[in-house]
């Protein structure tokens, strides 16, 4: 198992790989991917997520749904690093004939659900958690959502359902970077108080520094042992575009790839 320092380095490495993947593409969701890098590394490399390409009985594995499907760049890198995909295949991202597109597809090893339209993942995750309950299995279902996604009504339908049915094997992680595609969330349809909303829907709510692997592992360390009948919502305070200074907190980078000097600067900033 990697220690905190190694995991932090891994997150930095993932960011650099993300830039390599998109190369000279005209558009890609780089910034949304960078805000959840530490979360993904904590889940996969940090061992919170009980998955493996071959060794684990697929029925017993934990489920992971990237409900904010547009943030999949980092997930592809992590899956390659975990052995689900080859690194060669990363180079095919969005190329003709590739199965790696800008939103994750069920046919890709390691991807549990096809996503790309916001607001679907939590219901599907709740369904998986319910299946685990019905089948008396102890896997946990994780759903990584964006904060803007919480503007979708379907999220709250799922939230009500999950708490009503006491799905304590369901963990929603909200990537709270406070930006959506066009503007800050609080200027479009304000979400605050987001923790209170989730609490009022019957969830246990925790807050975490989404870029501190130490804090993430500590805050979520007891997901398998916590004594609660409530599903868990982890609101991760993050920065969109984290790691590339000119992208951070800037809405225009939602679906934009740095060019020329910008790319050179981005590479320097993410170089390990």
């Amino acid at each position: 198992m990697m220690d905190i320092t190694e995991l932090e380095k891994k997150a930095g490495w993932v960011r650099a790989q993300v830039l390599d993947m998109v190369g000279g593409m005209g558009g890609a969701h780089i910034a949304p991917s960078l805000s959840c890098t530490e979360l993904l590394v904590s889940l996969y490399h940090g061992g919170m997520l009980r998955v493996a390409p071959d060794s684990l009985n697929p029925d017993e594995r934990d489920r992971f749904i990237l409900s904010k499907g547009h943030g999949c760049l980092g997930l592809y890198v992590v899956l390659a690093d975990m052995g689900f995909l080859s690194f060669d295949e990363l180079g095919s991202f969005c190329q003709d004939g590739s199965r790696l597109g800008a939103h994750p597809d069920l046919g890709v090893p390691g991807i549990d659900v096809s996503t790309g339209s916001l607001g679907h993942g939590l219901s599907i995750g709740a369904g998986m958690a319910l299946a685990a309950r019905m089948d008396d299995k102890d896997y946990i279902t994780f759903v990584l959502m964006s904060d803007g996604e919480c503007q979708e009504g379907s999220i709250w339908e799922a939230a009500m359902f999950a708490s009503h049915h006491r799905l304590d094997n369901l963990v929603a992680i909200i990537d709270r970077n406070k930006l959506q595609a066009t503007a800050p969330t609080e200027q479009v349809v304000g979400l605050e108080s987001l923790p209170q909303k989730w609490e009022s829907f019957g969830w246990e709510v925790r807050s975490v520094d989404g870029h501190s692997i130490k804090d993430i592992l500590l805050t979520m360390g007891d997901i398998r042992s916590r004594q609660s009948e409530k599903p868990l919502a982890v609101i991760a305070r993050t920065t969109k575009g984290k790691g590339i200074s000119f992208m951070e907190n800037n809405p225009i980078w939602h679906y934009r790839v740095p060019q020329g000097d910008e790319m050179e600067q981005a590479r320097q900033e993410t170089r390990i």
């Binding site: 069920l106 659900v113 939590l122 599907i124 998986m128 009504g153 379907s154 799922a158």
Partner: protein, 305 residues
């Protein structure tokens, strides 16, 4: 028809623990029976149809065969995107059971009418569409939906009588040639099949030899079987309790146009406007020229001319 379908499904669920039924706060006595038999596998999802499809998908991705049930517009229009992506794109064993075909809920207004459902479901890759015409077929559809591996939409009526079929009838081709007509082939679906039979009887008084086809599997369309059943009828008409756009009228029109077959063709169904009437079903249909006598009149004038 609902009772026939769910009674048969209840029996299937006895033998397969993976069968789950979700419903969106839509009551029926037959559901109470299902719930009594299989309480742990029958869940009232509340008034949250989008969530219902998502939950169904999550369950179906974990080896369950999931039936979801509500009034047609709520179970499949409100949550169309979830059906499109979560169910069809991922090709999951989720069976969408809609009650209230056409203007079945004739006193409840256009929010409860199902005039666009066939059009919507036809456009989804991988979706099978079943439209039973009576209780016998509805009961058989329970097994059919169970045996089809992927997504299914079944369009149920609250009324399943008078019967079109005898008990024990087998359904495998997606259509039944109920009678052959030298002059006219009248293709109906759902409860309109019974009306089609009545109309065919009336048309003999106008010396028009009309036959009837029950098109119960709208997608995938048995194109070869349908063309063969139409045979050499000089006129073909479709009859459905659905908008004339996108339903079986459109499906048959597409088939005929591409087959190169020469024949007169007419679609009979609800016009392209919302049905703003309240009253009996017969009244609503008559307002759209779809009573039995009106259909007979329309067809006889068309053919005679």
């Amino acid at each position: 028809m609902r009772n026939a379908f769910f009674d048969a499904l209840c029996e299937i669920a006895v033998h397969d623990e993976q069968v789950i039924l979700l419903y969106a706060d839509t009551g029926a006595l037959v559901l109470d029976e299902f719930r009594k038999e299989h309480a742990d596998r029958c869940i009232n999802m509340g008034i949250s149809e989008q969530n219902m499809i998502g939950i169904a998908s999550g369950l179906a991705m974990n080896k369950k065969i999931v039936y979801i049930y509500a009034i047609v517009p709520f179970v499949m229009m409100r949550s169309f995107e979830q059906i499109r992506i979560d169910v069809c794109y991922q090709n999951l064993p989720v069976k969408v059971v809609g009650i209230g075909a056409g203007v079945d809920y004739s006193t409840l207004g256009p929010t409860h009418h199902a005039l666009e459902d066939i059009a919507l479901m036809r456009s989804l890759p991988g979706m099978t569409i079943l439209s039973p015409s009576d209780d016998v077929m509805a009961a058989a559809c329970a097994k059919m939906t169970y045996e089809i591996p992927g997504p299914v939409y079944i369009r149920l009526d609250r009324t399943g009588e008078p019967l079109v079929y005898k008990n024990g009838a087998a359904f495998s081709d997606g259509l039944s040639l109920l009678s052959h007509g030298r002059d006219l082939c009248l293709i109906g679906t759902g409860r309109m099949v019974h009306m089609a039979q009545q109309v065919a009887g009336e048309l003999t008084k106008h010396s028009i030899d009309a036959g009837v086809i029950d098109l119960y599997r709208i997608k995938p369309l048995n194109k070869e079987g349908l063309l063969k059943a139409i045979g050499d009828s000089r006129y073909v008409a479709t009859l459905e309790e659905h908008n004339v756009i996108g339903g079986i009228g459109s499906a048959v029109a597409e088939l005929l146009a591409e087959s190169g077959k020469t024949c007169g063709f007419k679609r009979l169904g609800l016009p392209d406007k919302f049905c703003q009437h309240y009253g009996t079903r017969e009244y609503l249909l008559s307002q759209s020229n779809l009573s039995m006598s009106q259909v007979t009149d329309t067809l006889s004038k068309w053919i005679i001319e």
